[in-house]
């Protein structure tokens, strides 16, 4: 007899909280969906947003490779995407989502609009951290004979790392927040669960449990983010 008998635990929770085992099962699925959306979207945001931020920083006037026009155009596009409310983006991007992954509903489908909404957000946050790197350090490495790639690899990214980690933590938490809206296109998740089983069924106990769960998840992410940012901060 294992002490980690899941069914046994479920039954115990059900009895204690008056939540049916079906609702409990749905809760587990929702947690999984929220985590899936958050981390997949987080990964793509990092892959898309960080190079974009580096691009914006090095093409800025007086930077490594100034390209003022291109810099302004990209900056403007980012501003457009940051201006559109997520709930509108979610619906507006349905054709794109369908083109990319074959369907417009479900957890995977929600990752497309989520990523497109958070990339511009993270880009701006990362841009601030990268811009704060002391220009004299860049000059120093340039004087050593470092090329642009060296400067990005040895100066910009490592020096900005603590700020980038903090910024990414904020972005991840933002994804958890806006993923609640993804329920609109059948993505599920904790936010949707709270509306369906908590709000619409007048179960404030379920609502409470969801909120407590979100507090735990968000605190954990924030704690990990702070820990890592601190670990890499040698100032």
């Amino acid at each position: 007899m294992s002490i980690f008998n899941l069914e046994q635990i479920n039954t115990t929770i059900s009895q204690l909280t008056h939540i049916s085992s079906y609702q409990l099962e749905q809760l587990y699925i929702s947690i999984g969906q929220t985590l899936e959306m958050t981390f997949t979207c987080g990964l793509f945001t990092l892959i898309g947003g960080l190079p974009l931020a580096i691009f914006l920083v090095i093409t800025a006037p007086n930077s490594l490779k100034p390209a003022p026009l291109l810099n302004r155009v990209i900056g403007f596009i980012i501003n457009i995407f940051r201006s559109i409310p997520f709930i509108i983006l979610l619906v507006a991007l349905i054709p794109v989502t369908r083109f990319l992954i074959g369907t417009a509903i479900g957890t995977e489908a929600a990752i497309v609009p989520l990523t497109i909404a958070t990339i511009p957000y993270f880009t701006r946050i990362a841009e601030v951290s990268l811009k704060e790197v002391d220009h004299n350090l860049i000059e120093a490495v340039k004087a050593m004979g470092g090329n642009h790639i060296t400067i990005i690899k040895e100066v910009l990214l490592p020096e900005a790392l603590p700020g980038l980690i903090s910024g990414f933590t904020v972005t991840i938490i933002l994804i958890i927040g806006i993923s609640a809206m993804a329920g609109t296109i059948g993505a599920g998740g904790l936010g949707h669960y709270a509306i369906q089983y908590g709000y619409q069924q007048f179960r404030s106990d379920i609502m409470g449990i969801v909120i407590v769960l979100l507090v735990i998840i968000i605190s954990a992410i924030q704690w990990i983010g702070d820990y890592l940012a601190n670990y890499f901060n040698h100032r």
């Binding site: 004087a143 004979g145 060296t150 040895e154 040698h234």
Partner: protein, 345 residues
């Protein structure tokens, strides 16, 4: 012979930003293992000159030659290996906070493609040379200003540069640390036969460290030569001004009573500049003993340019013995004696 080529040569270098001329017609050359100081007021073009030296900035016209190679018209890519021939140290050290001391020093080697074991070995040797071998695994934030500059120097030396360029390298340090860094630089210059160029506004640093000095004013070289010559006999007003802060001057209480023509019982004030052996002689006692002149010491100091002592004093002697004193001092080997005026105590 290649070693006879100057390490750095500027030929009629001009640099303009728009219509603003920052450097105009700068020509000089620096030989191997020389230590050259470049001084000037802020805005004289020191920083631009340094950036041209480091290959970070291109002159508008004229040529910059590094070890005989003209770098003026080279594309950015070709400049990269030449920049590695020049080690730079900075006022605020510019160490990477994200790397430990060893990796900071090894960075120039990493850039030039040296293997990891090689560069760590070299970095450790350099750390030994600059005298902080126990700080290898510390991060810059854990070091004092002097230690940071030592790391900066080690990093600048990593790629075996032909030239060490110091940009106000001691200006952010306290006097004691400044002295220890100067000693380190002299030691490196002697040990490695390394050419050093210092850009600074601190005359004391030039005095202690440099062989030659170049004085800049409004983008032009207005004076250059051996430090002992230029500092003891500054020709231009700018050099005199720059040296002023270090030179003793008469106190205001005396200055306001000075008059041109002698009255009865007046004293003449003489400004006496001497260098070398004469400084080590009992000047006032000799005046008394050999010429029966009672001189009063009003103000004075002795500084050193490398090994040479330079004394600057203000003496007061009875007005009627003024000419006699000037003659006597000249006989003793004093460089210059100027009559400032007369004063009644």
């Amino acid at each position: 012979m290649a070693s006879q080529l100057p390490v750095i040569e500027f030929k009629n270098v001009c640099r303009q930003f728009g219509k603003h001329v920052v450097l105009s017609d700068i020509s000089f050359s620096i030989q191997k293992s020389e230590i050259v100081g470049i001084i000037g007021h802020s805005g004289a073009g020191k920083t631009t000159l340094l950036r041209c030296l480091a290959g970070l900035e291109k002159p508008t016209s004229g040529q910059v030659l590094i070890e005989g190679k003209n770098i003026t018209n080279l594309p950015e890519k070709a400049l990269i290996p030449l920049r590695q021939r020049i080690g730079l140290i900075f006022q605020y050290f510019n160490l990477l906070n994200s790397k430990n001391v060893l990796n900071n020093i090894a960075l120039p080697l990493k850039i030039s493609g040296v293997s990891k074991t090689e560069r760590i070995k070299k970095a450790k040797e350099l750390l030994e040379l600059v005298g902080i071998p126990d700080k290898a695994y510390n991060y810059p934030a854990q070091l004092s200003g002097g230690q940071k500059q030592r790391v900066g120097i080690a990093r600048a030396l990593a790629a075996n540069p032909a030239l060490l360029l110091c940009d106000e390298a001691t200006s952010a340090l306290d006097p004691e640390t400044t002295r220890s860094i100067i000693e380190l630089l002299i030691q490196i210059n002697q040990k490695l036969k390394l050419t050093i160029v210092l850009i600074t506004h601190e005359m004391s640093v030039i005095r202690l460290l440099a062989d030659r000095v170049i004085v800049l004013q409004k983008g032009k070289i207005i004076e250059q030569g051996l430090v002992s010559k230029v500092f003891s006999h500054p020709q231009s007003e700018t050099t005199q001004q720059l040296l002023q802060e270090e030179q003793p001057t008469l106190p205001d209480s005396i200055l306001k009573n000075i008059h041109k023509n002698p009255l009865q019982h007046d004293h003449a004030i003489l400004h006496v500049i001497m260098m070398g052996k004469v400084v080590r002689e009992p000047l006032i006692a000799n005046l008394q003993k050999n010429y029966q002149i009672s001189a009063i010491l009003l103000e004075g100091n002795i500084t050193h340019i490398r090994e040479t002592p330079i004394g600057t004093t203000f003496l007061a002697v009875p007005a009627d013995q003024c000419q006699q004193t000037i003659k006597a001092l000249t006989n003793m080997g004093v460089e210059t004696v100027n009559k400032v005026g007369y004063v009644n105590f």
